[in-house]
Symmetry: C2
Subunit: 615 residues, 2 copies
C-alpha cells in the first residue's frame, strides 16, 4: 500500500510539512493549494525538495466549482484549469482533485456536467495530467459517489476518474459497497478520514473535526475492504482537517498519521483474510496480530524519596501489603489480591507522586512489543539484572510508559519473585485487582492517545462524555477490552487548566467489599476525600435508599450510583501529588464509573485546593 498525506493535515510552512511527512515514512504527499500558494518556494524547488526527501507528489488539490456552469464561466474555468495543469507539470504532479461544484453550478442535468468534464479531460490530457472527480458531501447537485460514478462513466475519458474520500461517503451514510462496482483503473486517488459521530452541518464537521483512522467512529475497515476488493492499488492518503492538528508539532502529527494507516491496513487485511482473499492482500509487511490484554500486570507510581512515604502509607491504609524491595533496583512492590503497585523512587527529580508506567498482561509480550514498534511507538529500555523477567515497554503519547508482561502461574507474574517479600497472600485482601486507571491527557495529544490505545493496546473506545469540574468541562473517553478487564479512562482537561485535580491521574482498585475496605482504611487513618451532606440528601431523593444503608454511605464518605444492571460504591483518597486512589465495588452488572459523582468529587478536590491555598 502506497501511503500519502495531505499537507493540510500538518502545521507549519510547506517545507516543514514535507519534511515531517518524509520523516514519518510516508511515500508521498498531496499538495493542498493554499500551502503552495503561500510558499516562497518555486514549483521547481518544491519538486526538488520532495525528490530529495524521497517523497512523490501525488495530488494537487483542490480545484473547485468547475462543472455544470454557464458557458461564460466555463471559459474562465478552463483558463484557470490550464494554469493549474501547467503548474502541476512544473511540480511534477499528475493528478488534480476536482470537487463537485458547490457554488456556481447552474444545472442539475448531468449532461452539462458530463460535457464540461470531457472538455476538462481533453485539456488535462494535453498537459499529460488527469482529473480525479470527487463528490463532496455538500455538493450542490452531486453529493453521492455513485452519482459521480455515473457521470465519470458517461464522460468516458481516460483523463477523468475518481477521488474517493471516506468522509464524504460515510458522513452522508452512503453504502460504500458500490465502490466495488467502479473499475479499479478509474479510481485515481483515495483519501481516508475518520470522524467522531457529531450532529452538525457537514461542512463544519468536515472542516474542523476529522481525525485519523482509528480515532473516530467510522467503519473504515469495511470501507478499505470494499476498496481492496475493487482491485485498487494506488495511494491511500490521509486528508484530515482538524483544528488541533493544525496547531501541534507536525512531526508528531505525521507519526500519528502513519500509525493510523498501519492500523487501518491491518484491519483491512484481517477482513480480507477472513474471506480467504489472499490475492488482494496489501503489499506491505503485516502488523503482528494481538488479542486485547488480559489484565493489568502492574501500576508504577514514581515518587522521590521524600514523597514515597505518603504513597506507602496510603497503600497500607487501603489494605495493601509491602511485598518488599527489588533485589537490584530502587523500587518496591505493594500488592493486594491481583493488584500490584510498584513505587519507584529511583529518580531523585521525580517530585510529587505520579503514575509513570502501566503494565499489561498479554499472552506474548514479544509479539505485543513488535506490534507496537511497527506502529511507531518508541521503545523504552529498562535495566534488568541477570535472570530478571524481561518486560518490554513503549512510550505512550502522554509520555507514560507501557509494558507488556506475561501472566504468571496462578495469575502472578514471574517478576514478583524479584522482590524480597514476594507476593502477599493475605487472607484479608479485599481488593482483587486494578479496575481502571484514569490518565489526564493534554489537548495536543488526546486523539493520538486514543489511537495509541486502539492500535497498540487493542482497546475499543466507548462513548465519551463531558464531566463538569469547577474550572471547566473534562472530556472523558473510556478505552476498554471487550470483556472490560482492562479499562483506561482518558481525560481531556481544559487547555491551560491550572487546577491540579482535573489534570490528575488516578488508579481505581476493585474491591469485593467497599464498605469493609473503607472501614479498615478509616481505622488505619486514611485521609478520605470529604463528601458533604448535600450529596447524601440528593442520593436519597434520587434513589430512595434504605435509611441504614444511606447512613453507612454517609458515615464512611462512600459515593453511590445505580443503573439498570447493578450498583456502584466507591470512595477516593486525598491527592498525593498528581495521583490519587479510588476503591470501587461493582455490584451486579454495573458497568459505569459513577459519572454522576465525578463533578462532586472534582468540586471536593477544588475545595481542598482552596483550603490548602495551593494554585
Amino acid at each position: 500500500m502506497k501511503t500519502s498525506i495531505a499537507t493540510v493535515c500538518l502545521s507549519g510552512s510547506l517545507e516543514e510539512k514535507l519534511r515531517a511527512s518524509a520523516a514519518a515514512g510516508f511515500d508521498g504527499v498531496e499538495i493542498f493549494e493554499p500551502d503552495f500558494v503561500a510558499s516562497p518556494l518555486s514549483p521547481e524547488l518544491v519538486a526538488e525538495l520532495a525528490r530529495d526527501l524521497g517523497l512523490t507528489l501525488d495530488l494537487y488539490q483542490p480545484f473547485r466549482d468547475f462543472e455544470g456552469v454557464a458557458q461564460g464561466r466555463l471559459r474562465q474555468n478552463l483558463r484557470r484549469a490550464e494554469a493549474k495543469f501547467e503548474l502541476m507539470n512544473r511540480l511534477d504532479i499528475d493528478t488534480m482533485l476536482l470537487c463537485s461544484n458547490v457554488g456556481t453550478a447552474v444545472s442539475a442535468d448531468d449532461a452539462l456536467a458530463v460535457d464540461q468534464l470531457r472538455q476538462l479531460g481533453d485539456l488535462a490530457a494535453l498537459h499529460g495530467v488527469r482529473v480525479a472527480y470527487e463528490a463532496l458531501a455538500w455538493g450542490r447537485f452531486v453529493s453521492d459517489y455513485e452519482h459521480a460514478a455515473r457521470i465519470v462513466r458517461a464522460v468516458d475519458h481516460p483523463a477523468v476518474g475518481h477521488c474517493l474520500d471516506s468522509f464524504h461517503i460515510l458522513s452522508r451514510g452512503w453504502d460504500p459497497a458500490a465502490i466495488e462496482t467502479i473499475p479499479a483503473d478509474k479510481i485515481f486517488f483515495v483519501q481516508m478520514a475518520d470522524a467522531p459521530r457529531l450532529t452538525m452541518d457537514l461542512l463544519s464537521w468536515s472542516r474542523h473535526h476529522r481525525v485519523f483512522p482509528g480515532e473516530g467512529a467510522f467503519d473504515l475497515a469495511d470501507f478499505m475492504g470494499h476498496l481492496l476488493r475493487s482491485g485498487y492499488d494506488g495511494p491511500v492518503s490521509l486528508e484530515i482537517f482538524n483544528d488541533t492538528f493544525r496547531r501541534t508539532d507536525p512531526h508528531r502529527t505525521a507519526l500519528d498519521a502513519m500509525r493510523s494507516l498501519e492500523w487501518l491496513q491491518e484491519l483491512a487485511s484481517q477482513s480480507l483474510d477472513r474471506e480467504g482473499r489472499e490475492g488482494v492482500r496489501m503489499a506491505v509487511a503485516p502488523l503482528p496480530d494481538m488479542p486485547p490484554p488480559l489484565g493489568f500486570n502492574f501500576v508504577e507510581v514514581r515518587a522521590d524519596e521524600n514523597q514515597r512515604e505518603r504513597v506507602r502509607t496510603t497503600l497500607y491504609q487501603l489494605g495493601f501489603d509491602d511485598a518488599g524491595t527489588h533485589h537490584s533496583k530502587p523500587v518496591e512492590l505493594w500488592s493486594q489480591g491481583g493488584a500490584r503497585v510498584i513505587i519507584n523512587s529511583g529518580d531523585a527529580t521525580a517530585g510529587a507522586p505520579a503514575v509513570a508506567a502501566l503494565g499489561f498482561d498479554v499472552a506474548d509480550p514479544e509479539l505485543a512489543a513488535s506490534r507496537a514498534a511497527t506502529l511507531l511507538a518508541p521503545a523504552v529500555p529498562r535495566e534488568r539484572g541477570a535472570g530478571d523477567e524481561v518486560l518490554l515497554g513503549v512510550r505512550a503519547p502522554d509520555s507514560s510508559e507501557v509494558f507488556f508482561g506475561r501472566v504468571g502461574s496462578g495469575g502472578v507474574p514471574a517478576w514478583v519473585a524479584e522482590f524480597s517479600a514476594g507476593t502477599s497472600a493475605s487472607a484479608d485482601a479485599l481488593v482483587t485487582r486494578v479496575d481502571h486507571v484514569n490518565l489526564a491527557q493534554s489537548w495536543e495529544y488526546f486523539d493520538a492517545a486514543v489511537l495509541f490505545c486502539t492500535s497498540v493496546l487493542a482497546l475499543d473506545p466507548q462513548p465519551s462524555l463531558d464531566v463538569a469540574a469547577p474550572t471547566g468541562l473534562v472530556r472523558s473517553q473510556v478505552m476498554s477490552t471487550p470483556d472490560c478487564v482492562v479499562r483506561l479512562v482518558l481525560n481531556l482537561a481544559p487547555a491551560e487548566s491550572v487546577e491540579t485535580a482535573v489534570r490528575a491521574q488516578h488508579v481505581a482498585f476493585a474491591s469485593n467489599d467497599a464498605v469493609a475496605t473503607a472501614r479498615r482504611a478509616r481505622e488505619r487513618g486514611l485521609g478520605f476525600l470529604p463528601i458533604g451532606d448535600n450529596y447524601y440528601d440528593d442520593l436519597d431523593a434520587r434513589f430512595d435508599l434504605e435509611p441504614a444503608f444511606l447512613d453507612e454511605l454517609r458515615e464512611l464518605q462512600l459515593m453511590y450510583d445505580r443503573d439498570d444492571r447493578g450498583e456502584f460504591l466507591h470512595f477516593y483518597t486525598e491527592s498525593l501529588g498528581s495521583v490519587f486512589f479510588e476503591i470501587v465495588e461493582r455490584r451486579g452488572g454495573y458497568a459505569g464509573y459513577g459519572a454522576a459523582n465525578a463533578p462532586v468529587r472534582l468540586a471536593a478536590q477544588h475545595d481542598r485546593r482552596l483550603l490548602a491555598g495551593a494554585s
Copy 2:
C-alpha cells in the same frame, strides 16, 4: 428590572459563584442543582451567605423528567420533588424550574401531563413553593412554549406557571410574539441567553455555545419587548452554558454578564419608547443613548525609547508627517490625511511596539463615557495639563484603552494643537484615514470583547470567518458601524499559540492610491512583507488580470482581491514588535478585508519568524 444569574454561568465553587455574582451587582441568583449538591455548605449556610451578600435566591434548577410518566414512576417523582421542596424551604427559594420531560414521558396526551402537574402543584403549595414549567427545545412531547402554555392553562393551579428561556424559544425558531398572550402572573421566571447561529444538534448547541446577550445572533431586544408588553416584571436572569465561561475568572464573567443585561435593557427600552409605551418602562436608570462613532480619532502605539525609532521610520516611509511632540507628555504625533498615530514612549517598561489605545470620534464624549461607565467599563484616568483637551477613556477587555474624543473643526481634533508642529497638511498625503484596526484577543475574553464593542462602542458584529495560519485557525470577527467608517477586527488566535503573527495587532490605513503609496514607501526604504511568485501566479489564474497590472502588483508586493462590488489592493509592513501596518485601497464598493490573502500573509510572517530564529 430585577437581575439574576444562574450559578452554572460561572466557574468555581458555589461560594465563589455567589460572591462573584454579588460583586457584579446582581440582585439574585439561580442555584444550579449540581453546584449545590457538590457544595460543602448546608442549605442554611448557603441561604445565610446569600443574605449577607445581598442576593436573593430566585430559582432552584432544574428538576427533570417529571410529567407524563407511568403511575409507578409518578410516585417516585413526587417523592423526589418533595425532597427538593423541603430543601428549597431550607434554602429560602420559592420557585423550582421544571424542564419538560425528555426521557421518561410515556404519553403524548397532554391530559396525563396536566393531571400529574396538578398533583405536583398541590405538593408545591403544601410547601409554600411554586413550579415554573419550561418547554425544553428538545423535550420529548413538549418542546414549544405555546404548547407548554396550553398545558399550564389546563393545569390551572396557582403553584404552576412558566419559565421562559430565550434559547429554547429562539433556537427552534418559535415566534416569541405569543408571550404577550400569557398572563403575566403565570410567568414565574425568565432566562435570557444568546447564541451564535450554529447548525448542530440543539442539545450540544445549548450546552456548550450559549453566550451572553449581545454576544450572539438572537434578536433578544424583540424577545424582551414581547416580555415587557406581557406585563412581566419579575427577574430577568442569565442561564448561559458556555465552555469558556466555565473556565475563566468568575468575577470577570459576572461583570460581562451584568453588562449584557444593561445593554439588553437599553434595547428593549428603546423599542418600547418607539411605541410610546412609557408605562412598561423598566424600573432602572436608563443607559445613555449613543450613536455609533463617527471615525477613528487616533491610534496610540506604545514603545519604549529604544523601539520608538523603528515606529517613526516606518510611519515616515508610509508617508506620515511628524507633527511634533506634546507640550507636556512624552508622546509624539504622526499624521497623514485624517490618520493620526500617537507614539507613546512614556513607559520605559513598554517593550516592543504595541497598540495601546484607540480613540474614537463621537459627538458627545461625556455621554459616551457615562454610557461606558453604566456598562461597567473601568475608567482610565489620563493626565492632562491646564487647557489640554479632555479625553475620556475606558479599558477594553483586552486591557487596551479606548478614548472618546470630539470631532474638531475641519475634522481635526482640538488636542492636535497640543503638539509642537500641529497637524500636517502635506499636499502629497495619500493616506486618508484609519480603515480598520485588527486586535488579537485571548480565548478567555473574546466573547467579552464582542459585547464591549456591541454595547460600549455601538458597533455591529458582521459574519465571522476562520483564517488558516500555519500554526492554527484564527477566528476573525469584524465589528463595524453601519456606514463602515469604524471597523475593528477581533482576532481569536488559537489558545497557547506561540506564534507572534497570529497574536499581532495591526493598523490598516486607507489610501486613495495604494500603488503610489507603495512606490513612495519603497523609495523611502520600507521593509515590505515579502509575497512570493506563487501568489501572483494564482492571482492570475483566478482573476485573469491585465499583464501590466499583474506585473505592477508583483513588483510592488501588493496583494489583490475582488468581489462583485469592487477591488482591493493592500500591502503589509514587516512586524514591529507585536504590531504591523497595512495600507489598503478600496476601489468601488469592495467591503471586505482580503480574507483570501490573510493565509498568505500569515505564512509569510511565519517564514520571517523561522528566518529570524525567533519563537
